[in-house]
Point group: C2
Chain length 329, copies 2
């Protein structure tokens, strides 16, 4: 590893991060050069890495308790989309010089909550000062039985397209946190901002999709763009029936009050729901998914020949979709 | 994963990073939610994560070809200190807005060279814009036979302390790149700066230490501080004989010309040599380490009862060591 941080940052690691590693013997207390991870025979590891940069993925005023959790959940959502069970993670953190040790402690406290919620443990990482914005990078490790991981490439024409939960809350939550969505009822605002700030990785659903779904992805770039990712990887096209896409009551209210267009919710990002494809002959088994996954699943369309994602409106005609992909910047 | 970067950054990934993942089927072409890694029975995984921040670990004027390689080598050095063989890595990269795509390409080109040199492959990651400095974070995955990983905690009184290569070149190289070491011969300057900019992870040596060394660490914080890490983890003390510590000809010249004190080389960081302990009854086997590891190894002291690291000078008396740990900031 690079030369260690100042002694008081050694102390920060001992104080805030070593407790997050306590339940994992392979972390070696974060005191050795690397962590050890024993794997079980017949299991493949699943690895994902995501980062968040202050000013891009979160703002200076975001509660620090949520920053680490959010990056961890981006990663856990990736595991969910592969059908994997989480095991452990590594964290690198660049701390702006003006941030206090309490800021680091708040990030760690948030991570501690999520470790309990998702049965995962810190096993390694690194810290640095940052002369600019804060940055966090997390690598998560999960496992899945060899050969069983869900991928994006297995969708076939005729498969039914499902999505979990509700779509568009992430986009509305982001708009609300930015002050671009005034006049919301307090309850609706809290619900939407919470959905944006603290995504729910659909891990149980992902596990339940093994052997059932031909392809899966998490909705991070936007429903249309992420279905296009499945289509591209699988060499197929798809049709979405817009009226079938599940919306939360606050999202429905936002549309009916003219605050946002349905098409903006279908193309917005940050939902972290699972989008997946089920062949016709397995639809009966899909009826048990809601119980197994702990979240509603809804049929929203089908896989077709071709290469494009078509979105049909109320009238059954193709909707104009301005932008199929989420733009982050 | 978080919402994807702009389309032109999708293109950057396809252009510069996907080729780095081509030799690893488990990378899924960097096009899926996560990577898959099959593990062999009886092997434990070894994981380390390190980051580098512009303005802290490298400067704006450092050649981009070296930035990624340097972070990768920090990580590989951690694997070496555990006796592990590298398999794969994940990279997250935050690109300052003013940097061109060629800058990203140069980082990737450097990584490609090191992938060939170390038999390792990119399997996943993430990119983001940075409103501030560039940052890179790498998580490396290696493997070692279960139960055989070298750790810091096994040193026992009487063990002989060895170090590989030469010590102090990293510190001198850093000083030279900063302009704090004038008047060096060109060849010496190039040698020292190269040692600082492109550390050599001692992977073959690390593998050869399995079954031989009771404890090992890579010298990143400085010889004295890293031996103190072994002592702390093992519950022992140690004595270093300063005249026995191996120095390169440029380092010897720098001392004899009064440019730097020996004690500064013993406490400086960035050497990335291996520091390890061998019991007396295995010293004969240690004679074959140089051939197996491809680098000289030198006896520099011994493990003792106690808790402190003592450094003895030419006269056999304890040397004054101003600072035992490297300060990065």
């Amino acid at each position: 590893m690079p030369p260690s941080p100042e002694p008081d940052e050694f102390a920060l690691i001992a104080r805030y991060f070593a407790p997050l590693a306590r339940s994992s013997p392979g972390s070696l207390g974060l005191l050795d050069d690397a962590a050890l991870l024993e794997t079980e025979p017949g299991q493949a590891l699943v690895l994902a890495a995501d980062m968040a940069v202050e000013g891009v993925h979160f703002t200076e005023s975001d509660p620090p308790e949520l920053i680490g959790r959010k990056v961890l959940r981006y990663n856990l959502s990736d595991l969910a989309a592969m059908g994997a069970a989480p095991i452990a993670y590594l964290l690198t953190l660049a701390k702006p010089e003006q941030r206090s040790s309490e800021w680091v402690g708040a990030i760690a406290a948030g991570l501690a909550d999520d470790q309990d919620a998702f049965g995962i443990s810190l096993i390694g990482g690194d810290t640095s000062a940052s002369p600019g914005p804060a940055m966090l990078s997390i690598t998560v490790i999960g496992s899945v039985r060899s050969g069983e991981a869900l991928q994006r490439s297995g969708a076939r024409p005729g498969d039914v397209v499902f999505v979990s939960g509700t779509i568009g809350d992430g986009t509305l939550g982001l708009k609300s946190t930015k002050g671009d969505l005034d006049g919301l009822a307090t309850g609706d605002r809290d619900y939407l901002e919470d959905r944006y700030r603290l995504p729910q990785p659909r891990l149980a659903l992902g596990r339940a999709l093994i052997g059932l779904a031909t392809a899966a992805v998490d909705v991070s770039d936007g429903l249309v763009a992420d279905l296009a990712h499945i289509c591209q990887a699988s060499g197929v096209g798809a049709v979405i029936e817009a009226p079938a896409v599940p919306l939360s009551p606050p999202a429905k209210a936002a549309i009916s009050e003219g605050r946002i267009a349905l098409s903006a919710l279908l193309t917005g990002g940050d939902d972290y729901e699972l989008l997946f494809c089920v062949p016709q002959d397995r639809l009966e088994a899909a009826e048990r998914l809601e119980e197994a996954g702990g979240v509603a699943v809804t049929q929203i369309g089908r896989i077709a020949e071709g290469t494009d994602v078509e979105v049909l409106g109320e009238d059954g005609k193709p909707m104009a979709i301005e932008s199929k992909g989420y733009r982050h910047f």
